[in-house]
Symmetry: C2
Subunit: 225 residues, 2 copies
Amino acid sequence: MLQTDQKVSLAVSTVVFALRPHPTTGRMTLWLPLVRRIREPYEGRWALPGGPLEPDEDLAASAQHTLERTTGLTPRYLEQLYSFGAVDRSSVADRDGRVVSIVYWALTRPEEMARAIDGENVEWFVADDVSGLAFDHDQIVRYALDRLRAKITYSPIAHAFCDDEFTLAELREVHEAVRGCRFDPANFRRQALASGWFEPTGRSVQGTSHRPPALYRFRPSEETS
Amino acid sequence: MLQTDQKVSLAVSTVVFALRPHPTTGRMTLWLPLVRRIREPYEGRWALPGGPLEPDEDLAASAQHTLERTTGLTPRYLEQLYSFGAVDRSSVADRDGRVVSIVYWALTRPEEMARAIDGENVEWFVADDVSGLAFDHDQIVRYALDRLRAKITYSPIAHAFCDDEFTLAELREVHEAVRGCRFDPANFRRQALASGWFEPTGRSVQGTSHRPPALYRFRPSEETS
């Protein structure tokens, strides 16, 4: 177990999802930031933010540092997704040998996105539209999308896209954006309340109609892994 | 991303769960195989089956090979669990530098367990009782147990402990063994059928009573990730 193997090296990359309006339909949809590669292999192609694991850095810390450096984001929701290590995962001959990538994913809240910076070689894309990325990153993005769409059906993960307090209409918009469909407001409301994942704060949205929508918050004790 | 870093090396380890009767209570419970370390660090201590990742070996293949070599098992259910890479995860000074472990977990069916072999330095233990393992393997076993107990509540994963066809009483016994509690047979039956994860085969257990229990099978299309 402790024999070193110099031919395999380790990188940490992150898929960061945020919700923004779709450029043509205007409906909320999933976006992610990509970094343009400035050296071979895959020079000029887009790739997930990431880098080699530093010897004195924990895995999640490595993901966090690259993310902050490239996008200015420090998302509260950052979780390990999967490790990708197929022998042939880079189709381009790689002088430095085989690389195994431990991939994290992050979900960003509106207030976190307000702090996002645009780097010179960083751009945001509609997640479902990306293709032709460097290495096996197309496959990694697809895996992350599948996992997000599965997990939102059996866990309260949607709250990671919301601020601390949110209306049920905002929560429904998150579900619709992630799953790419529409929900009946009354049915959605009933199911969201029955799940036990959310609770009323006792407050309402200020300064709107004479029946202002109630604000809810996530109940942390009920989170499933 | 492609700079090699010679100070971090990579291992693949596996947590293998199987159901066997508890040595004192006789009730079915979770067991796992451990391998006794025959060299430093942690010489003489028990550890998860595993080894360094070979340069020409995919991650899952590496897990599979170590597992077959140490236990004779080739479980159909083998899935990546998590990667453990804390800088200080080995408390013993390690001449070979830092090791990141990509951990798989396997669930074994009764017919698979029939082929298990006992190696000289391999032994099976009650999963909840293990402690004092090498490296951070106590923590890894705890993580795998937590994940299994969470996942069985929202996915049909229990079928991975069953043969192709099983009775609802056998399925209930799996849930009881994993979650460490008892379920009312009628309630369990109703919930299992309502889940849509299982379907009747149209066959029954042969040669038992005049009302032989019906056999069910897993419906693969409904699996959640």
